[in-house]
Symmetry: C2
Subunit: 186 residues, 2 copies
DNA sequence: GTCTATAAAGCGATAGAC
DNA sequence: GTCTATCGCTTTATAGAC
């Protein structure tokens, strides 16, 4: 029974959860050492620039996941409607059916946005542009597609806020169903 | 020229801005003393329980404002459509046309929600119920009214996230226009 | 009521042994 | 690579003079 080696990549998902639950300011190194099981020595070995670098790596990891699992299918899927349906499935999965909040959304709301301005801006603009592209291929006019894309992405973010405020993940899932319906009624 | 007396009520709006901009964890007492111009002695004189009490007072202040300016008109306005239009005007005004985020929304996303669980839960449930009431009086069936109310409140919260992520308040104003249209198409 | 001084704890980050 | 010890600073909160 070989001891499981802890690699840098193994801690990134854990860091993601910590930042999601506490926000950037609230994610203390003590919370990070506790959750990851790694001492400060190991953490600073993996992430020499400390907390800033940890958050940056997580943001990069999230951006990669959405690019391959959501944005690319939206842009490239031959069947645009299938690409959109795929997005909603991926979103419900990623946000754990409303039990998990959006890391980039939490960073966007407070002064953390200024620290990661480019990453926060890119995430949401890539999302809305990819969705607008799919909606255009579904027959919507450029302007209508862009507006609907913004409404849907905002609707997802808002549903996460609302679901968490009510401690009711099912609220999120129901909201996703309705948003999905809206993208079908073209 | 009499010196302007500083009263407890005068600092509440300032505290609100600080919590909105930094979140609960990020709102340090040093930031609060700087913004309010009050020393720690005065702050703890006004708010003996410290930061927790300051945030609680702000939440209460926000709840009062929405109750009188938004929820009550939604529930009681003879002309339900006018009550809804009034809500959108009040919302655009309150959130400074997208330059200001929602305090309760920021509290809802991280572990701050647990500290103020009742206040966070009540704010959003009062909002959605008041809006659903107005939509019912506009002719929507109970279920459809409730769903639309959730979509609109979530849409507002998400538009705040999106607008701030893009540093583009106008995005918020445009989103409000479209949400308002949706409440008219009955 | 407002201030300064201070306490006690926690913070992010670093050094150096192993 | 991982640990412990520690640094310097900031945090929330309190005490007490005025």
């Amino acid at each position: 029974m070989t001891r499981k080696p802890v690699e840098r990549g193994d801690v990134i998902p854990l860091l993601g959860e910590i930042f999601r639950e506490h926000g950037y300011a609230g994610a203390s190194l003590s919370a990070i050492t506790e959750r990851t099981g790694l001492g400060k020595g190991s953490l600073y070995h993996f992430f020499p620039d400390g907390k800033d670098e940890m958050a940056r790596v997580v943001l990069d990891d999230v951006a990669d996941w959405f690019e391959t699992q959501v944005f690319a299918p939206l842009r490239d899927s031959e069947d645009a409607a299938a690409g959109i349906d795929h997005m909603f499935r991926a979103v419900v999965q990623f946000f754990h059916s409303g039990r998990r909040v959006c890391l980039v959304g939490t960073f966007a709301l407070d002064e953390t946005r200024d620290r990661f301005a480019v990453e926060v801006q890119s995430y949401f603009s890539a999302w809305t542009r990819a969705l607008a592209s799919a909606l255009r291929r579904r027959g919507l006019k450029t302007r209508h597609a862009r507006e609907t894309a913004e409404d849907v992405v905002a609707g997802i973010q808002g549903a996460l806020v609302l679901a968490r405020s009510q401690d009711d993940p099912a609220l999120f899932v129901r909201a996703m169903k309705r948003l999905q319906q809206r993208t079908r009624a073209v």
